[in-house]
């Protein structure tokens, strides 16, 4: 048995989320960013669009 920290996006069914009641409040100090290199190709930007949609959907579900 162990403890770990996991992003909301990565939590799976067998993980038990500990709460402030357990003495382990969530840590809200980080963000997930989608960053492209300055000379990204059109195809790269298309993939970025798909990833943005995906993360927006995950975020909406988690909220």
């Amino acid at each position: 048995m162990g403890l770990s920290i996991l992003s909301e996006m990565a939590i799976q069914a067998d993980d038990r989320v500990l709460t402030a009641k357990d003495g382990f409040a969530p840590i809200d100090r980080t963000e997930v960013a989608l960053v492209a290199s300055p000379d990204a190709s059109p195809a790269t930007l298309r993939l970025a669009d798909r990833l943005s949609e995906f993360c927006n959907a995950v975020q909406t579900r988690a909220a």
Binding site: M1, G2, L3, S4, I5, L6, S7, E8, M9, A10, I11, Q12, A13, D14, D15, R16, V17, L18, D22, G23, F24, P26, I27, D28, R29, T30, E31, V32, A33, L34, V35, A36, S37, D39, A40, S41, A43, T44, R46, L47, A48, R50, L51, S52, F54, C55, N56, V58, Q59, A62
Partner: protein, 197 residues
């Protein structure tokens, strides 16, 4: 099976809101367009335009077909682009955080890859701090990465909530026996969570 040429020639000039895919020099008169739409209507067995009033507007079926027509045509354009310039799109080097549960991205990446046959997709999972470094070195084209909140650059940013978790299958013996978490990264700095993520 839809005739793409028929879709292309029917929609751009007949419905104002239509996405105007370049008609590649094809010029058609209004009566030709009407004939095209009649052919489409026969094809799908529904009327696509309301012709009763002064303005011609799409019917519900027309709207629905229009939305598909846009996608079909844009996909066709993309296929043509890729075939016309094989290998031109090259490769995309994408970095994702190690714990991002890559399986959740698998479907998205597979779909993207299929629709861009001329493109190689290299995906690497790594610690965010390495992804950031490799973006700066142009060794990555695109990265999803975690960082301290308040970063400046990026196409999009989402707040990340990090939870402490334990296992459902192997719960701790009793409260108060929590072990001290030990970071696995040798470069771990207590103030930053980046190395953990």
């Amino acid at each position: 099976m839809f005739d793409l040429e028929l879709l292309r020639s029917s929609f751009p000039s007949s419905i104002p809101a239509a996405s105007r895919a370049p008609a590649s020099g094809v010029h058609r008169t209004q009566s030709t367009v009407s004939q095209q739409i009649k052919r489409l209507e026969e094809d799908v067995g529904q009327s696509l335009l309301n012709r009763s009033g002064k303005d011609v507007t799409p019917t519900e079926a027309g709207e629905r077909l229009l939305s598909y027509a846009r996608r079909l045509l844009s996909l066709a354009e993309e296929a043509r682009d890729v075939l016309a310039r094989p290998g031109k799109e090259g490769a995309i080097k994408l970095g994702i955080p190690e714990d991002f549960a890559a399986y959740r991205l698998a479907k998205l990446l597979a779909t993207f890859s299929r629709s861009h046959p001329g493109l190689r997709l290299d995906v690497r999972a790594d610690q965010s701090i390495n992804l950031q470094r490799d973006l700066e070195r142009s060794e990555l084209d695109l990265a999803l990465l975690k960082r301290d909140a308040g970063g400046k650059d990026g196409i999009a940013v989402w707040p990340e909530r990090v939870h402490w978790i334990t296992s459902r299958s192997y719960p701790p013996d009793a409260p108060g026996t929590w072990p001290t978490p030990v970071p696995t990264s040798p470069g771990f700095k207590p103030r930053s969570l980046l190395e953990w993520a």
